[in-house]
Amino acid sequence: MNPRARLWLVVLGGGGLAALLVAACLRLPAFGGPWHPYGDRAVRAALARHIANTIASVNFDQRAFDTMGEMTILFAAVLGCVVLLRQARDEHRDPPEPCEVAAPVRRYALVVLPIALVTGLYVIAHGQLSPGGGFQGGVVAATALHLMYLGADYAALERIRPVEAFEIGDALSASAYLVLGFAGVLAGGAFLANTLLPYGTFNTLSSGGTVPLLNAAIGMEVASAVVVLLARFLDQAVEIEEGSGS
């Protein structure tokens, strides 16, 4: 295909997509209106199962199967990264030299690290009560650990973050989600149906049946996945060199 025909194809495809998007947007209900058919039903279903955060109810109860798909996507993506970014036969590991960190940077990183880590765990734990949840909190907790690399050096980061443990944690939490789903089947309900546990008192940590458990599994999965992903990228950027041995 010559460049001219390719350009025409792009213009045609892009123009068509833009026209369809504009047509779709023009038919959307106005922003901030009183008519919310989906929202009303979702809130009613969330309240019936004592879940304070309707979004968590949608993610881990009404559409728990979709969330399993998203978790599988992340798991597969991280698995792909681990395979692609492994140490090849013509590469060797060259541990980086420790270097001086400016004192303000070190102080900032070491003060913020525990705060950020606790914030991430808080966001995971309160997923069914307030905005946030396993995914958001997991990313916050996992990136918080990497402040150690800013505040100290690579060796210190590797000491507080054993990658093998996080790889096992990733697989364990992904299977925990599946096991919770099959527990619903064994109890006589449907896969991932939230009929297994009592719904508890509204707006407490243990409310919502299986929602806090699924949320915790996702939190652990995302945190481990992000740690493993960043570890592979860091290995490539800092440690792995071309050429077989020096």
């Binding site: 905005p131 990136t143 060199e241």
Partner: protein, 87 residues
């Protein structure tokens, strides 16, 4: 009042997104992307979607720029290494 905040957030997102595209240096692009992520998080929050805002804040302003920076570092180290071995 709320509409004004939405308009400001939308303009900030549009401006920063254009800046991210116009910037040709990947390392700087990653920094602009981090600021863009924060602006998007503000936009989602004023549009009453704090859950999505939190995801955007964590992924868009911390994780993605970090991955880009690490990739840039690897590529630069590799090309520097290649030049050394040729000399």
């Amino acid at each position: 009042m709320a509409d004004a905040v939405v308009v400001v957030a939308l303009l900030a997102v549009a401006g920063l997104a254009t800046a991210a595209v116009a910037n040709r240096d990947p390392a700087r692009q990653a920094l602009v992307l981090a600021v863009l992520g924060t602006a998007l998080a503000v936009l989602f929050t004023v549009l009453q979607a704090p859950d999505v805002g939190l995801s955007q804040l964590a992924v868009g302003s911390a994780l993605t720029p970090l991955l880009i920076m690490l990739s840039v570092r690897k590529v630069r180290r590799r090309s520097a290494h290649g030049k050394d071995s040729k000399q």
